[in-house]
């Protein structure tokens, strides 16, 4: 249940570590100190041993990805921190940035040492204006203290971070779209291969990781990879931040040890549970792009493999909860609108398909559905959109809707012929 040894120092040491002094007092930069005492290869191996997996959504082992970067290419190696956090329901990176920016900076510095990078970038979404200010100030402070700059990794061994601000586009969280955006182009995904590890930013080897992933490195390097790996289970070690929102009384971020906490515990014990008399109807446990699950799956322990076992994903940990007052078709429609708005427009199935889905669902919700015919139409569209595009946005658009239809077919059929009146929203002010 609650984490005793939190990976995120602000959670252990007084919530706000926004000055370098406070951060260092809380054990900051001991991880870097330890890292600099070993060889870059040993540092890479430590990442690997910790079992840390990417926290941006795909869950790819961080150490493995870092080891893909070719060495001695004659080109610079870059690190890019993905702080685009735009997945609906996800706001954990915001917390790290607002409350503990130096841990991210230290984590990037550690990674920089391990992969031989001198310049790193943080790509932060444009909507995070205030959070961007906090990061910018922290970067300046670190630079002034010599923690970044020409001697950041020791005398004559430079490492610096540039903050790059987006301007409002979910797709820029997809790693290759992010690189395009950072290169001053329209943020549209690239054809892969080549993968960013080989040809990323400006065609150079590039390590891209999520904020939470990189911020986990300092404690891992301080307390040792074994400490980290000992938490959780073999395939899902360590802790993970879950953002819980929707129909819960205490929305917020919660750090749990993977595999030890169930979804029910997350919702009821940590996020304050639901309103009197309400029951969980649907949960999107890993952000809006994952298949929705129902009440019958509440007792799964939260880790990557177990969630896959019930047909969904851990994703980014943006857990959206809807109680039995909500309409699943309306919710699906709202998500479909999101994907329609956010499709970059490059691939035909996504550009045209997301809009089509949104239109059909919208009609259904507004009482203009055509019953079973619309259901069949939806079902035939899913396969025409997902699995056929450059990047997984289209899959992400289909999964929540397709799973909702599978799980709540009767409701879909009903709404397709009767429409769905707008329910009373939950207006309670969150507790705490």
């Amino acid at each position: 249940m609650p984490v005793l040894n939190s990976v995120f120092r602000h959670r252990e040491f007084g919530d706000h570590l926004t000055s370098l002094v406070e951060y260092e007092r809380a054990g900051g930069y001991l991880g870097l100190q330890g890292t600099l005492a070993m060889s870059p290869d040993d540092a890479l191996y430590a990442f690997h041993r910790s079992g840390l997996r990417g926290r941006g959504g795909a869950g790819f082992p961080m150490g493995r990805k870092a080891s893909f970067l070719p060495k001695d290419t004659g080109k610079p190696t870059y690190i890019v921190c993905n702080a685009d956090e735009s997945e609906p329901g996800t706001f954990k990176d915001r917390e790290i940035i607002e409350h503990n920016p130096f841990q991210l900076i230290e984590g990037m510095t550690i990674a920089g040492y391990a992969v031989g990078c001198e310049r790193a970038y943080i790509y932060i979404r444009g909507e995070y204006g205030v959070q961007g200010e906090v990061l910018a100030a922290a970067i300046t402070e670190a630079r002034e203290a010599g923690r970044l700059g020409p001697d950041a990794l020791g005398p004559g061994r430079p490492f610096d971070i540039t903050l790059y601000r987006g301007a409002g586009a979910y797709i820029c969280g997809e790693e290759t779209a992010l690189l395009e955006s950072l290169e001053g182009k329209r943020g549209q995904p690239r054809l892969k291969p080549p993968f960013p590890a080989v040809a990323g930013l400006y065609g150079c080897p590039t390590l891209i990781n999520n904020v939470e992933t990189l911020a986990a490195l300092p404690p891992i390097m301080h307390r040792g990879p074994d400490w980290y790996a000992a938490m959780g289970n073999e395939k899902s070690p360590g802790t993970k931040l879950f953002s819980v929102s929707g129909h819960v009384l205490k929305p917020g971020n919660f750090e749990i040890v993977l595999g030890e906490t169930t979804l029910r515990e997350l919702i009821y014990d940590l996020a304050g549970g639901l309103r009197e008399g309400r029951e969980v109807k649907a949960v999107w446990p890993g952000g809006s792009s994952v298949p929705v699950i129902g009440r019958e799956s509440l007792d799964v322990p939260l880790d990557y493999e177990t969630l896959n076992g019930v047909g969904t994903f851990l994703g980014s940990g943006g857990c959206i909860v809807m109680d039995d007052s909500g309409c699943i078709v309306r919710a699906s429609w709202r998500l479909a609108q999101f994907y329609r708005h956010e499709s970059c427009g490059k691939c035909t199935p996504c550009r045209e398909g997301t809009g089509w889905l949104a239109k059909i669902l919208g009609r259904m919700v507004h009482g203009e559905g055509r019953g079973e015919e619309d259901i069949r139409m939806l079902e035939s569209l899913f396969g025409r959109i997902s699995g056929r595009t450059l990047c997984p946005l289209a899959d992400g658009a289909v999964m929540p809707v397709q799973s909702a239809l599978n799980l709540f077919r009767d409701e879909f059929v009903r709404v397709a012929s009767e429409g769905s009146p707008r329910p009373e929203p939950m207006m309670e002010t969150p507790v705490g």
Partner: protein, 761 residues
């Protein structure tokens, strides 16, 4: 070679080949929209080409998946078919389906693919995304955004091929649209290629809008005669009119790669300009009157047969080699002994060393490690050459441009602006660039180097000394290489003879000597000529003086062979015959030999070509069959001229730099379609020179050379050199060319502010 299996068949393909191309080579069509290798690496956007590759997760885009040994690919099984079906259905989801009123209807890849690979019916009843009405991207290109399928082709052409950076995508998702900055017109020299590239009816040619339907038209492959590039084109005919010129759908990769310039594309309305000669005209004691062609040819023969007639035949541009050859034949059969045959053009004395260099084709530029452009300006004179040069630069070849003129290539390539008249100064830099190169290609300008034989000799030496280096001559005239290969010289002797009163009859073929270099001298000389027979498609400065005018077909209407600047002999094929009373020059010439009683054996250009190929070594072994689809490279005649003495400019004042943009040529001026992009005749000066004269842009200045003077508008441009006056030759009616010496050699001009009465004149 890699061996793989596609649809159960074993297929071999070179390593690196994309699956679409490997399949195509094996006769298996995988539908595509965005894939177009001429635009660069695949983008994988449309998803039309999805296929199943066994063992790979999900479906793969055949346009971006390279072949691999033992790969097993299915393009027509259930999964692949469903994918094609699905993509087409989605493409049509927001498509207006207005095929019956769409210009592309009937020749539309979207329509075709929907028919072949598609769902057959549409299931959408959702409202479609709407854009405001179709709009003019430029006076030449119209855009209907509702039909756009966002295939990226036009945008990639603008960004990555023409590099004009004007066409872009705006917005995102299903609101993505093609646009220019704030709705500015899409300006450029190559904009029409986006129409050819568009796989739907989103981009259409404004002059061609609603003109015809695909089933009413006939398409004929031919060659553009607009400049010496020799781009392959396709001519669309309906009701005996040329309705359209496009890039050839099966491009000649060794020449234009399917790209053509807007001058070549939209020059055809000139066929119907007001000054087109539609009937023979005879002037005699009765007066000036229209006659039938038969009669006119008979009259001409009557003049030529005269035993005392001393005849000169002057060839202009463009002229097919068959016409040149038949003119030589005619010359043997006339009046008082062989006629003098000459072409208007640059003698090129001193170019021997350059012309002896090993020649290159345009596609050799794709392999070059160093590309040098010396003199001239391909961007304005042989526009499509610019695209190859840009491509080389994008590929990482070292590209350098030398010469006195600013060029559109300057921004992206190494540019060395030489002092006017001193291309020689570039020698050091040229040597540096060539040093260590393996496969250099040097493009050099005929006019500029002919004016500086000393530089030509030096530069030729440098190229000669570089292993693997080859050269391409950027020829000033479309017909130059072909007529030169027939041994036809330039017109200095003919002019001298005419001035000396030794010529009784002048026959001009597509020539306008009064408008050309030393035009005033020609005008004077022609006064003493007894009979002027003009063959021309459009009225010229001599039409009013001619005793007999025979209307000619234009290169879009006639048959014959043109030799491009890389020595490639290619066939013109008649796209239409707009003027019933007109004839091809070869027809008239053959007719004349018949009338003179000594007929040539040829009845067709094909026969004339076969015969000339036997008689003229450069064409040895060629006939129409051998020329085939993509033409054949001739062996240029050897040219020995050891004299490389520096030529001193005639006259005094500022050195004249002549600029001859194809967008300013006679056809461009006659074509109403090109009105928005046509280049006017004007004078260019650097700000310093303009200050010295006390004039500003839009002032009119008087330019005087030993050959004549003209009052022309001024354009002050900081990119121009001091110490020179740039003469931009545009509208032929302004006759700016006549200020140059007959051989277009170096000349100086006195530039002054025009007097008030000259301005108002």
């Amino acid at each position: 070679m890699v061996t793989l299996t596609i649809n159960g068949r074993s297929v071999d393909a070179p390593k690196g080949t994309m699956l679409v191309d490997a399949a195509k080579a094996a006769g298996i069509e995988i539908p595509i929209f965005c894939y177009e290798p001429r635009l660069g690496p695949p983008v994988g956007a449309c998803r039309m080409c999805l296929v199943e590759v066994e063992g790979m997760r999900g479906l793969q885009t055949a346009c971006s998946t390279p072949v691999a040994p033992d790969m097993v690919v299915n393009t027509d099984n259930e999964v692949a078919k469903d994918a094609q079906d699905g993509v087409l259905e989605l493409l049509l989801a927001n498509h207006p389906l207005d095929c019956p009123v769409c210009d592309k209807g009937g020749e539309c890849p979207l329509q075709d693919r929907t028919f072949r690979f598609g769902p057959g019916e549409t299931r959408t009843l959702e409202p479609k995304v709407h854009f405001p009405k179709p709009l003019e991207l430029s006076p030449l290109v119209a855009l209907d955004r509702e039909r756009c399928i966002a295939c990226y082709r036009c945008v990639r052409f603008s960004q990555d091929v023409a590099e004009d950076a004007q066409l872009t995508f705006q917005e995102r998702g299903d609101h993505t649209e093609i646009a220019t900055f704030s709705g500015d017109p899409y300006e450029g020299r190559f904009t029409g290629n986006t129409i050819d590239l568009c796989p739907v009816g989103a981009l259409t040619s404004s002059p061609y809008r609603f003109v015809s339907r695909p089933w009413d038209i006939k398409n004929t492959p031919s060659v553009c005669a607009g400049c010496s590039m020799g781009c392959n084109v396709e001519i669309t005919e309906r009701d005996n009119e040329v309705k359209r010129v496009t890039g050839r759908p099966d491009p000649n990769m060794a020449v234009e790669e399917g790209w053509i310039c807007d001058r070549g594309r939209w020059g055809y309305p000139a066929l119907r300009s007001a000054d087109r000669i539609d009937s023979p005209v005879l002037v005699d004691s009765v007066g000036r009157r229209k006659v039938l062609l038969e009669r006119a040819v008979a009259e001409a023969a009557g003049v030529l047969v005269n035993r005392d007639a001393r005849v000169g035949i002057l060839l202009g541009d463009p002229i097919t080699v068959e016409t040149g050859f038949l003119a030589l034949e005619l010359a043997q059969r006339v009046g008082a002994g062989p006629a003098m045959v000459a072409r208007m053009g640059i003698p090129g004395t001193g170019l021997g060393p350059m012309r002896s260099l090993p020649g290159a084709q345009m596609d050799d530029i794709d392999q070059a490690d160093v590309v040098l452009v010396i003199g001239g300006d391909p961007c304005t004179q042989q526009p499509v050459a610019e695209l190859r040069v840009r491509k080389a630069r994008r590929r990482g070849a070292r590209v350098a441009v030398f010469g006195p003129r600013p060029s559109a290539l300057d921004d992206s390539c190494e540019a060395m602006r030489t002092v006017p008249g001193h291309l020689m100064d570039a020698a050091g830099a040229i040597r540096d660039r060539l040093d260590g190169s393996q496969r250099a290609v040097v493009l050099w300008d005929e006019a500029d180097l002919a004016a500086e034989p000393d530089a030509a000799a030096l530069i030729a030496g440098l190229v000669q000394a570089t292993p693997g280096a080859r050269a391409i001559e950027m020829c000033a005239d479309t017909s130059g290489p072909g007529l030169r290969a027939l041994g036809i010289g330039t017109d200095a002797d003919l002019l001298a003879a005419t001035e000396a009163g030794e010529i009784d009859v002048i026959v001009t073929i597509a020539a306008d000597p009064i408008t050309g270099p030393s035009g005033d001298r020609w005008a004077q000389a022609l006064v003493g000529v007894g009979t002027i027979v003009e063959m021309a498609s459009h009225a010229t400065a001599i039409t009013g003086h001619a005793d007999l005018v025979l209307p000619l077909l234009t290169p879009l209407e006639e048959e014959g062979v043109l030799v491009s600047m890389t020595g490639r002999a290619q066939r013109l094929r008649p796209g239409a015959r707009e003027v019933p009373g007109a004839a091809a020059a070869w027809e008239i010439l053959i007719g004349l030999t018949h009338r003179l009683g000594t007929p040539v054996p040829d009845r067709t250009p094909a026969q004339a070509f076969s015969r000339l190929a036997r008689e003229h070594a450069p064409f040895a072994g060629l006939d129409y069959e051998v020329l085939g689809r993509d033409g054949a490279v001739i062996t240029p005649p050897a040219q020995h001229d050891p004299d490389s003495a520096r030529r001193d400019p005639q006259g005094e004042g500022l050195l004249v730099i002549a600029c001859t943009p194809v967008f300013g040529d006679a056809t461009a001026h006659r074509s109403d379609a090109l009105a928005s992009v046509v280049e006017p005749t004007r004078v260019g000066l650097s700000p310093a020179e303009a200050d010295r004269l006390g004039v500003r842009t839009e002032a009119r200045v008087r330019v005087a050379t030993p050959h004549g003077e003209a009052v022309l508008p001024l354009e002050v441009d900081a990119r121009l050199h001091e110490g020179a006056v740039y003469l931009f030759v545009g509208d032929p009616a302004q006759r700016a060319m006549r200020l140059l010496p007959l051989d277009r050699g170096p000349v100086r001009a006195v530039v002054g502010v025009a007097a008030r009465e000259e301005v108002s004149a």
